[in-house]
Each structure stands twice: as structure tokens, then as C-alpha cells.
Symmetry: C2
Subunit: 195 residues, 2 copies
């Protein structure tokens, strides 16, 4: 038997690994599993719609989303709500309806290498990336759980940046709605007063 042909958003497993190395700098298990998560989410979303993304951690997952979807931090279609949970949400820009996928720690018993990595049961230097990848390849979806979610309008309808002001303290441009000074200068003043 040959290797199981697991595709990740249209890429072969090897192609995806190469893209992860190029963007993320290393073949981190969190980004590879993140790729499977994005793939699972996309399969459960209606086609032909535009969606935004939320990652519930800033670790690894945002890079899987940025590699595999049009959503990036800089274009505003990817947000991070840093609960420290290993979960991603893809949701319809217009309706807020979407899919949340997370790695379920209860589903790891048949995947000892992923479990050791995810729950930090082994020191990093004892983890074998090849074994972890083999397990992801063999059963990536089985360790995940997905559910339908609905994002609130106040979350998915982002307020516009609005008018630009020049900060009277630092002389730089900032969103006028922040107030009479930019937030950096406000923070500096607070710090100076505290000393």
C-alpha cells in the first residue's frame, strides 16, 4: 500500500509542508494540523461565499489560515481572539454563519505522538516530527471536532477606521476616533505619571 493521499485545501500533504516551511520557517505540527482544520472547515461551508476567519490562539494557527485562505492579518479578514484554545472559525462575511473546528484532547488516544506534542507530555527535543506528521497524515481529521457557529454582527461588521488625525505629541497620524492624542502617547504619559 502506498501512503494515504491526504489533500489539504487542494494541496498534497508534501506540497502543503513545503508551503509551511517557506512561510512559517519550519514544519511545525501546529501549522500542519491547522491546515487540516482549515480543510475540514471549508468542506462544511457552502461554496461560492466569502468568509472571514478567527483563530482562538496566536500560536501557529494564524499561519495555516494565511497560507490556505485569502484571509490575512493585514487585510483584516483574519482576526485573533486569543483565548489560548486551538480552534479556528471560518464564517460568512455577510451572515456570520460559519464553522468552528478544534483539536479535541479526548480524541487523542490513538495518536500518541500528537498527544505528546499537544499536551506537552514530552520535552520538545524528544518529540519526533516525522512520527507526528505520520499520525496527522493517517488520521488528521479524527482528532478534530467541528460545529456550526454564528458570529455576532458586532464581531463580523468591523467598524471603519474613519478619519485620520495628527497626534499633537508625536506628530504621527492615528485614527481620530482614538481621542485627542494617539494611544501610544497616552500610554507613555500614563507610564510617566506612575513613576
Amino acid at each position: 500500500m502506498g501512503k494515504i493521499e491526504r489533500k489539504i485545501c487542494g494541496y498534497t500533504f508534501e506540497e502543503f509542508i513545503e508551503r509551511v516551511k517557506a512561510f512559517h520557517g519550519s514544519c511545525a505540527p501546529g501549522v500542519i494540523i491547522g491546515g487540516v482544520m482549515v480543510d475540514v472547515a471549508q468542506k462544511h461551508l457552502p461554496p461560492g461565499r466569502f468568509y472571514d476567519a478567527i483563530c482562538e490562539t496566536s500560536v501557529c494557527l494564524p499561519d495555516a489560515v494565511q497560507i490556505l485562505t485569502p484571509c490575512t492579518i493585514g487585510n483584516g479578514w483574519l482576526s485573533i481572539v486569543d483565548f489560548g484554545r486551538f480552534a479556528i472559525i471560518l464564517y460568512d462575511k455577510e451572515t456570520g454563519e460559519g464553522v468552528r473546528v478544534h483539536l479535541d484532547p479526548q480524541k487523542l488516544s490513538n495518536f500518541p505522538e500528537i498527544e505528546a506534542w499537544f499536551l506537552k507530555k514530552k520535552a520538545k527535543k524528544e518529540q519526533a516530527i516525522e512520527s507526528i506528521l505520520r499520525e496527522i497524515r493517517a488520521g488528521g481529521e479524527e482528532i478534530l471536532r467541528w460545529e456550526k457557529v454564528r458570529i455576532r454582527p458586532e464581531t463580523y461588521r468591523r467598524p471603519k477606521l474613519g478619519a485620520v488625525a495628527i497626534c499633537p505629541v508625536c506628530g504621527e497620524a492615528y485614527p481620530a476616533k482614538h481621542g485627542e492624542k494617539c494611544l501610544a502617547c497616552v500610554a507613555k504619559e500614563k507610564e510617566a505619571q506612575a513613576i
Copy 2:
């Protein structure tokens, strides 16, 4: 005379524009100027060192950094401190010494199209991307200001994520240091109490 040959971190202007379109989804002026900013910062940093990045806004600039440097959100080498200022900092991972580059609104008088875009003096549909790009290409560095900075150790020495716990409420994994429940479940409880 031919076009001015402006290189951005080793890429030609056209190559960089193609990379921006592929990653960011459109040729946004903020990402293009962000590229010039990264280029300026790198020129003033000693070679052969490893550096991390900070963007002072989540708009556009993080994508320039992620396209041109090894720093991404998911690998932790790029952070966002969202002051809403159009500035990036690249700094030495070991020493915290680095360079901050920002777009200086006082330097825009010879760049009317960039000024109209940056200070929102024209509606978006009236802005001509070709004219903005021409101005960036002609004088991109002239609109910037750079300075040496030193990042504090508590900023650049990020605390480790540490041990993993399973949340007794949602059953998902989270950083044990967050407390007895994950932050998402704490937030949900607070909200329920407020109603």
C-alpha cells in the same frame, strides 16, 4: 529615461507588487509602502542577526512584514501593538536593539496622491492606485522617518506558553497559567452574569 529601479528587500517593484497581490489579495498602498519601510529598516540593521518585528497597526503593515521577512504572526516573531500608528519596528531578538520606521505626515507635500490616501483627503473610489504607486516608486523613502530604538526585555523575551490544562467547562486544551478555566469560558460566564 527608464523607470527608477527601486528594489524592495531584493525584489523589483513589480515582483513585490505581484507577491502583495498573491498574499494580501490586492495591491493596497499600505502594503506597498510597508515594503519600502521594511527595506529601510533592514538597511539600518546590522547584517547576520536574527530580528523580530512589531507593527503599530494591524492594518496592511503586518502583511508587508510577513511577505518580506521570516516574521509571521503564527511563529511569534511578529507582534502587533495596535496603537493605530503607521509604523514598524525590527529589532534584534537577543539585545532588543532595533530600528523603527514610520510614515511622516509632514513629509507628504511633494506626494499629493500618497497624502490623499494616507490622510483620507479623497474618497477611496477617487484614489488612483497607479498614481499612488508611481509616487511610492519615485520617492518611497522620502516620506519615511527612521530612528534607532531599544525594545524592553519584558517585551522581547516572551514568556513560554507553559503547561497545558483541559478546561473543566468546555473540555478543550488551554494554557494552564490562564487559571482554572479557559479564558473563553470565563468570558462566557461573565457575560451570563451580566444579563
